[in-house]
């Protein structure tokens, strides 16, 4: 086989195992991180309950999906969950706003230290976690329906004649498209609308914003609604792509925090960059490059052992390393967020 085919194979290989998974996982992280960064920027605390909000949003989607399915409503090749999503977002937003009114607003009025908010968010995390477990149990649920693959590995091989296959799952494409739409809508909202501008002003300088007559309660309310919507979207996309397990979302918290801090606290665009960055590093650090090197090296050289920087189980370590490096080298993050 000639060298150019080898190079093509290498390209397909890396796209299939690193690029596409990073893009879809990165989109999910980015959506979560935007919520965290907005709450961090405006309410000024790290919300430990964010993972559980994602979990609850997904749960609501699953229930509504089941209800739709039982009534025979479906969207053909698309997952029914997309139809359920708006209702689930509404539910989750209501829940999050209720939590804010009943728990967090008290500390805001009393001007408590940020760390008190964090402790309160731990309490919320416990409650939401329990609620999700009580409602659905701890089993793994797969709620994807519709068409699974857009491109199948076998079909791709036949079509191109390459020895490496490329598989593209529908959920991966959906994730990317929905993430792009959500992010564009959010950026438009923050840049163009009055409320969005008020939010940015509030995040930059609270006192000045208050002096200019911005209503803080409204800003906080909108922030929670946006964070809850994005969290639900992220949770559902993650659940569609993999599966829903109540405990999984807690572990997403670390990469999400890493993404938010890497991007710069209070910078939605930074959180998105951070999300993709963390996802790409996580996946490429735990990918075995043995085959890839075999393809790109001229001649017959092939490495004997696995060329893998870290085993898959240590992917936490990657987000953590990134987090620590950024905090030590450039605490403001890529996009110069604030240092709280």
């Amino acid at each position: 086989m000639d060298y150019s085919t080898d190079l093509l194979n290498a390209l397909v290989l890396i796209t299939n195992y690193v690029l596409i998974p990073s893009i879809s996982y990165g989109s999910q992280l980015a959506l979560g991180a935007v919520g965290v960064t907005l709450v961090f920027g405006i309410l000024r605390f790290a919300n430990f309950a964010h993972g559980e909000v994602m979990s609850f949003g997904t749960l609501a989607t699953i229930f509504i999906t089941w209800w739709f399915q039982s009534m025979g409503i479906s969207m053909g090749p698309l997952p029914t969950a997309l139809l359920a999503l708006p209702f689930a977002i509404l539910l989750t937003a209501l829940l999050v706003v209720a939590i804010d009114k009943s728990i967090f607003s008290f500390y805001r009025i009393n001007k408590s230290r940020p760390v008190t908010f964090v402790v309160a968010s731990v309490g919320v995390m416990f409650m939401l976690n329990g609620l999700v477990r009580i409602l659905i149990g701890t089993d793994e649920r797969i709620f994807r329906d519709g068409q699974k693959f857009l491109i199948k590995a076998g079909a791709f091989k036949k079509m191109t004649g390459l020895s490496e296959g490329l598989a593209l799952k529908q959920t991966q494409v959906l994730t990317f498209i929905l993430a792009v739409i959500a992010v564009l809508a959010l950026l438009w909202f923050l840049q163009r609308t009055r409320t969005g501008k008020a939010m940015r002003a509030f995040s930059d300088n609270e006192d000045l914003a208050l002096l200019s007559g911005i209503n803080p309660e409204r800003v906080v309310l909108v922030t929670w609604i946006i964070a809850a919507s994005l969290a639900t979207l992220a949770g559902v996309l993650y659940g569609l792509d993999k599966s829903f397990k109540p405990l999984v979302y807690f572990h997403l918290l670390l990469p999400i925090f890493a993404a938010a801090i890497v991007g710069g606290i209070g910078q939605p665009l930074g959180a998105i960059l951070g999300g993709y960055g963390v996802a790409f590093s996580e996946i490429s650090a735990t990918y075995d490059f043995k085959k890839f090197i075999k393809y790109i090296s001229p001649g017959d050289f092939a490495p004997e052992s696995m060329i893998q920087f870290l085993t898959t189980e240590y992917k936490f370590a990657v987000s953590f390393l990134i987090l620590v490096l950024v905090l030590l080298v450039r605490p403001t993050g890529i996009l110069r967020g604030k240092v709280l």
């Binding site: 416990f126 329990g130 925090f257 370590a317 953590f320 987090l323």
Partner: protein, 454 residues
């Protein structure tokens, strides 16, 4: 109400509750709860030093607990000599390569002036060092894990009595805390929390995956106990006599039948073993409580509180904030490490899969907050209450579901579902307690009291 009155009342209520469990359920259950309450008390005293004395938000309590547990294995398990002979030298080579890499790295950093040359040499040193390390490490671990994998497949420990591990666990946790402190201290509280959370997750993945060290998810079971075994106890003369003297006759004065006697014997053996543990744990709790209270009331304790309450003012008075934070972080983690070793000793096994942050980090937080941050006795009562609720929430909610008869049929799907999920009630209950205490009584059950002798 003064603090001492509050303490007496709350501890009496706690004792009453445990006695009620003893009579209502079984003495074995009550003692099992008490033992874990005592271990939790050690954990929460450790966290209280970090949070209550110094205001550090440590979200990585689990890392200290887990390394304490690992130490219990490494101290007490008999060494697996075959694993040492096949893989020991390679592992040693890996460690030496690590040390050489670090030394070379430091040399490069110090000797070469800042610039492109240093960056490149540094990269080269790290890469070459990594390759060597990886090579020896894989050779060693592969050989070790192949040694009788169904039974051992790891290096084993030192084969010492497990009680040593309580001290060693503290030392190991202190070492880990020093390392964590180097990386994460000096960050703002939220960042510190996130960083410690990350480290604890990494710690658990290491324990789950480094089979040569901890057997990973295959677990280490059958650790030697510091107290007698139930089976041996039932053969011992004095024990049999004691039980006979205690339960010798039935209510009407006649002798007990052999079957009843055997059952009584078994139950009493369980109780005696648990009481032995209780005695050991109470000793540890009292020692740590005494030391912690002395430390808190000393000039050092006042300095810590001053740093917590106003870092700027404390640093203006010449206090080195970061190094003081590191100090208290290390001491607190050591205490938590001791509790980790105690827990593994009590369980008699080490199961990395059982370490989850909700149970081993955030539950300890609930204990400290509801007991009263900054108050050592408060942490103990907080630990007791929290653990009691954590355990008894499940039977209580099952009982509640059981009493839904009036509304729900025996076979109604909702009722069956409720029975399935009853154990998860405790999550909601914990969150609710935490949020309510934080809102209505942020100082906890026993508030921190400033000593009078300023």
């Amino acid at each position: 109400m003064t603090n001492s009155k509050r303490a007496i009342i709350s501890f009496s209520i706690m004792a009453l509750l445990l006695v009620m469990v003893g009579y209502g359920q079984a003495w074995n259950v009550a003692l099992a709860i008490l033992n874990l309450c005592l271990i939790s008390a050690v954990m929460s005293m450790g966290l209280n030093m970090q949070w209550g004395y110094a205001g550090l938000f440590n979200a990585g309590v689990m890392a200290s607990t887990a390394i304490g547990g690992l130490t219990a294995v490494l101290i007490s398990y008999a060494p697996v000599s075959k694993a040492w002979s096949v893989g020991g030298s390679s592992l040693l080579a890996a460690i030496i390569s690590l040390l050489i890499t670090i030394t070379a790295g430091i040399l490069v950093w110090k000797k070469i002036a800042k610039g492109r040359k240093r960056t490149w040499s540094m990269t080269a040193v790290v890469l070459i060092g990594y390759l060597f390390m990886r090579f020896f490490y894989e050779q060693g671990t592969y050989a070790i894990e192949a040694v009788d994998p169904a039974k051992t497949g790891f290096l084993g420990g030192l084969g010492l009595p497990i009680l040593f591990s309580w001290l060693a666990g503290g030392v190991a946790a202190a070492g880990l805390a020093w390392l964590i402190g180097r990386i994460a201290l000096g960050l703002r509280s939220d960042y510190f929390a996130i960083a410690t959370l990350g480290i604890s997750e990494i710690m658990i993945s290491i324990l789950k995956n480094e089979d040569w060290l901890s057997r990973g998810v295959k677990n280490v079971t059958g650790l030697k106990r510091p107290v007698p075994y139930e089976v041996d106890l039932q053969q011992t003369e004095w024990f049999i006599n004691l039980v006979k003297w205690f339960y010798g006759t039935a209510d009407d004065g006649s002798a007990l039948s052999a079957d009843v006697m055997r059952e009584v014997m078994q139950l009493s053996a369980g109780v005696v073993v648990k009481l032995c543990y209780t005695a050991l744990f109470v000793l540890v709790v009292l020692i740590i409580l005494g030391l912690a209270t002395r430390a808190l009331n000393s000039p050092w304790g006042r300095m810590m509180r001053a740093i917590r309450d106003n870092e700027t003012a404390a640093s203006a008075m010449g206090k080195d904030i970061t190094s003081r934070h590191r100090q208290v972080f290390i001491i607190g983690s050591a205490v938590i490490g001791i509790s980790g070793a105690m827990l593994t000793t009590l369980d008699g096994q080490f199961t990395p899969g059982s370490y989850i942050p909700l149970r081993f980090t955030f539950l300890i937080w609930v204990m400290v907050i509801i007991g009263g941050s900054g108050n050592n006795l408060g942490s103990i009562i907080g630990a007791f209450i929290t653990w009691f609720v954590w355990i008894e929430a499940e039977p209580a909610s099952l009982w509640l579901v059981g009493n839904l008869d009036i509304f729900l049929e025996e076979t109604s799907p909702l009722r069956l579902h409720l029975q399935d999920v009853a154990p998860h009630m405790r999550m909601i209950l914990m969150g609710l307690i935490l949020v309510l205490v934080l809102r209505f009584s942020p100082k906890g059950i026993l508030p921190e009291k400033a000593p009078d002798h300023y």
